[in-house]
């Protein structure tokens, strides 16, 4: 009996020790995305939101998380919104992130940026990781993994990320220890802020493609997204952000327009609405037209927010005490970040659109 108990104790203690050590190591070895490539942290940050009752959810790649400012949507129109985007987020990942969000709340509208329709297969494991790793475990995450994995990837590596990051032990930095169990927020309701400016000087000519048709898988997930929205009574809005490159071909545009018209979906190509939105490519982009800086993102939010509230009846939630408190805190953090970045990039805060009252 004593021997049996000893063996039992040994097994229990050994298993606990192994599990603890592996958990600890996994936490240590996983990338923290707090500095440098912070985009990898966006997806996980959503779950930290105490109140997930968002009225508008944006899904898509960098063309949403860098081009629309949810703070402005709240400030100007009382729209409670969140961006569920990550770097080069493929349409199937957007679909599963939307499905995942529906576990918590049903928004009034979903805004999907159609740039990712050009991809029919995942192009890069690193982007898959950034989109999927932050998701909480659910049917949606499993779907996202299965839909996204490249040939070199393995499902088990997502279940036990230590298997993927096992060799990071020689790249560990202070951040890895500091943010092992909790990382600071790096986005503002999913928005990635940049205050610096690099104007558009030339727009690269797009190369001619052999085939401009979107792939079957891309269409399949757009259909699924549309159907999911229909089933839940959500207004799906298609947008194309005003990024001047990668080239948005005429043939791409035609296919989206045809689809939108076929299913009676609203579609806004902001490349054609830059004047109305007030986008100035000499002041509103930080990387020569690929993404908007804070000026562009705020202008776009201001313009699109009006459409959302006037044409789609997205309600003004200002006055809701809980949300007012949450957003007050969000705005404070947003402005602190503006200050931090202005200092870092040597930008005069007063030159930013947000603080130029004369422009509004």
């Amino acid at each position: 009996m004593t021997k049996k108990r000893t063996v039992f104790l040994r097994v229990i203690v050994s298993v606990l020790l192994v599990c603890f050590a592996l958990y600890f190591l996994q936490k240590l070895l996983m990338p923290k995305y707090v500095t440098g490539i912070v985009e990898g942290a966006f997806v996980a940050e959503y779950y930290e939101e105490e109140n997930k009752d968002f009225d508008v959810i944006f899904v898509g790649d960098c063309e949403v998380y860098e081009n629309f400012s949810p703070v402005v949507l709240w400030e100007k129109y009382g729209i409670n919104s969140y961006i569920r985007g990550s770097a080069e987020q493929y349409i199937w990942q957007s679909y599963y992130l939307l499905e995942d969000s529906l576990r918590y709340h049903v928004p009034q509208a979903v805004v999907f940026n159609i740039q990712s329709l050009q991809f029919n297969e995942s192009q890069n494991e690193a982007y898959n990781r950034m989109s999927i790793e932050g998701m909480e475990w659910s049917k949606s995450k499993i779907g996202a993994i299965n839909a996204s994995m490249t040939e070199e990837e393995h499902f088990l590596d997502y279940v036990f990320p230590i298997l993927r990051y096992h060799s990071r032990w020689n790249e560990l930095t202070e951040d890895d220890f500091k943010y092992m169990f909790h990382s600071p927020k790096v986005s503002y309701n999913g928005y990635f802020m940049r205050v610096d400016t690099r104007p558009v000087e030339t727009v690269p000519e797009g190369n001619a493609l052999a085939d401009y048709s979107f792939g079957d898988k891309a269409w399949e997930y757009l259909d699924k997204m549309r159907e999911l929205c229909e089933e839940n009574g959500i207004q799906l809005i298609l947008v194309k952000a005003p990024s001047v490159y990668p080239t948005w071909y005429e043939q791409y545009e035609q296919q989206v327009e045809d689809y939108a018209s076929k299913y009676d979906l609203p579609y806004y190509n902001f490349l054609e609405l830059t004047e109305e939105a007030g986008i100035d490519y000499s002041t509103d982009t930080y990387d020569a037209g690929l993404h908007m800086n804070i000026n562009g993102a705020e202008k776009l939010a201001e313009y699109f927010g009006r459409i959302l509230s006037e044409e789609y009846g997205i309600i003004d939630r200002r006055g809701n005490q809980e949300l007012d408190d949450i957003w007050a805190e969000n705005i404070k953090e947003y402005e602190n970040e503006i200050d931090r970045q202005c200092e870092y990039y040597q930008v005069d805060k007063n030159t930013l659109y947000r603080y130029r009252e004369s422009d509004k």
Binding site: R10, S14, L17, V18, A21, L25, E125, E152, E153, H154, L156, D157, I162, L163, R164, H166, S167, W169, N170
Partner: protein, 522 residues
């Protein structure tokens, strides 16, 4: 399914659970099912080849067994009535019939092996270019299971083992998945003792098996797969990587081959042991050998035994060789008359060993060079003995280390035939070691441009040191027995440390090319 893949770990984990949950009588059937599943996952077409081998060898074995039984019954029944000459004539006729069944089994199976593995090579000899597509048809592990099955048939014919009555049990012997792809080449008499037995869950077996598997993973993932990118670069183009590079490539390949092949066999033996099955050891610290002859007693032991038992002895006792012995004794004297048959028989063995490894001149020349060195060493043996008798230092540890390093260097040189695409390129690469004045690469950091970083080299060095220490500890007896004798906390720390090292330092996953085991292709 690569031995170091997640799928394989899951596969053996699932098998181990079912194996000990299943009724013991059905354990061997489960093994057969999993073995065929393993082969089916590799390529369903391969099942046809292994099934043909199984059925033909089993059928021939049964016919030989029946022949023995008939002979025995007939002789028993006619004990009194037959004269000695009649008995002898009857026995000879039966023996010939058995020989024909053996020949049939051997020819069919060597025929399959020859067609799938050597057609390309033979066509290439005559036409200058191979058929190409034949390479794709070579079923996984065909050299191993064909030799194992033929070995069984010869043993049955010799009467050293009884033919297996149950076709499915025999199918398991041929297809037992842990040893299917890279050996060892088991003898039926050894493997069948535990393969079909009923096994209770035994913690010692399971833990020893897991330890052995982890040790195999250590060798494969820490050493073999980490050094492989550098080896692949170094042997890719001898016009770029010559001289000192060729030397480094030769040494690193020898290291890779050892870690890869012995690591794979460790996994094989470990998996079998988890299931309570005893598989013959295939290595005995081969790189500690002080001569090539000793090396071939300690490296790929089961293959060497196979060639000794089933090629050397039959050839050396054949009528042709005996005739040659007689002829040479008569014409060249006793000394040559005694040696010539041995040299001819060993020539056949080494030619066969070479061609068994692969259908290329490289392997044939490699085999014949081994033969030449072994024969020259044999001839010089009296001189060595004189030398050792005269000089005292020949008994010192220092001298033994020198002999070991000399042998290792010789093995490294012979292994070069496995690296380069042709015999001429191999000789060219070897000669550049003496003609290219580029040994400065050891100090200029150019070895860091081979896909292996400084950290990788440090890990390799540590890995090699661990292997060396383990090999030295092995001299005192089983390392696992020594670990088992330690208190539990010490054992736990050793196991967990090994597991963590494999997990964190192993060259697996994205960013690393998962290399197939080298011996899978033979």
């Amino acid at each position: 399914m690569l031995f170091t893949s997640y799928e394989f770990i899951g596969f053996i984990f699932a098998l181990a659970i079912l194996y000990y949950v299943f009724p013991k009588k059905l354990q061997w059937m489960l093994l057969l099912l999993f073995s065929y599943l393993f082969y089916w996952i590799a390529n369903p077409i391969y099942l046809i080849y292994i099934a043909v081998t199984t059925v033909t060898i089993w059928g021939c074995g049964r016919m030989i067994e029946r022949n023995f039984a008939t002979q025995s019954e007939y002789l028993k029944a006619n004990k009194e009535s037959l004269t000695k000459e009649e008995k002898k004539a009857y026995k000879n006729s039966k023996k010939s019939a058995r020989g024909r069944w053996l020949l049939l089994g051997v020819l069919v199976n060597l025929g399959i092996l020859a067609v799938v593995k050597y057609t390309d090579f033979i066509v290439g000899i005559f036409t200058g270019k191979g058929l190409g597509f034949m390479d794709l048809a070579v079923p996984m592990g065909i050299s191993f299971y064909t030799f194992q099955a033929i070995g069984y048939l010869i043993d049955v014919k010799r009467g050293t083992v009884k033919a297996e009555k149950n076709l499915f049990k025999f199918a398991l012997f041929v297809s037992f998945f842990p040893q299917l792809v890279q050996g060892p080449i088991s003898r039926f008499g050894d493997l069948s003792q535990t393969l079909y037995a009923e096994h209770r869950f035994d913690w010692t077996n399971v833990s020893y098996g897991i330890e052995r598997i982890m040790w195999g993973f250590f060798k494969k993932l820490i050493i073999a797969d980490r050094v492989a990118p550098a080896v692949n670069v170094l042997i890719s183009d001898v016009s770029v990587y010559h001289g000192a590079y060729a030397f480094v490539g030769m040494v690193l390949y020898t290291l890779e081959l050892y870690a890869d092949f012995t690591g794979g066999i460790d996994v094989t033996i470990g998996v079998a042991q988890m299931l309570g099955i005893r598989v013959t050891e295939n290595f005995n610290r081969p790189y500690f050998s002080t001569s090539l002859k000793e090396y071939w007693r300690r490296w790929h032991i089961t293959m060497c035994q196979w060639f000794r038992e089933f090629v050397f002895y039959p050839v050396s006792t054949s009528k042709a060789i005996q005739g040659l012995a007689k002829f040479s004794r008569k014409h060249f004297g006793d000394n040559i008359g005694k040696k010539l048959p041995v040299y001819v028989s060993t020539f056949v063995v080494w030619f066969a060993t070479g061609i068994w490894h692969g259908a290329s001149w490289n392997f044939i020349v490699w085999g014949l060079l081994n033969w030449l060195i072994l024969m020259v060493s044999e001839e010089l043996e009296p001189l060595y003995d004189k030398f050792h008798g005269k000089f005292r230092f020949s008994n010192t540890i220092g001298y033994r280390i020198f002999m070991g390093l000399r042998t290792l260097l010789l093995i490294c040189v012979l292994n070069m035939f496995d690296c380069y695409v042709s015999v001429s390129e191999t000789f060219h690469a070897f000669l550049t070691m003496f003609t290219s004045a580029n040994y400065s690469i050891f100090t200029t950091g150019e070895l860091l441009n081979l896909g292996v970083s400084a950290l990788d080299y440090i890990i390799l060095l540590c890995g090699v040191l661990v292997m060396l220490i383990v090999s030295m500890v092995q001299v005192k007896g089983s390392v696992r027995d020594q670990i088992a004798a330690k208190p539990y906390p010490v054992r736990f720390v050793i196991w967990f440390a090994l597991f963590l090292v494999i997990l964190l330092v192993g060259a697996y996953g994205i960013g690393y090319d998962s290399s197939q085991f080298i011996y899978n292709r033979f």
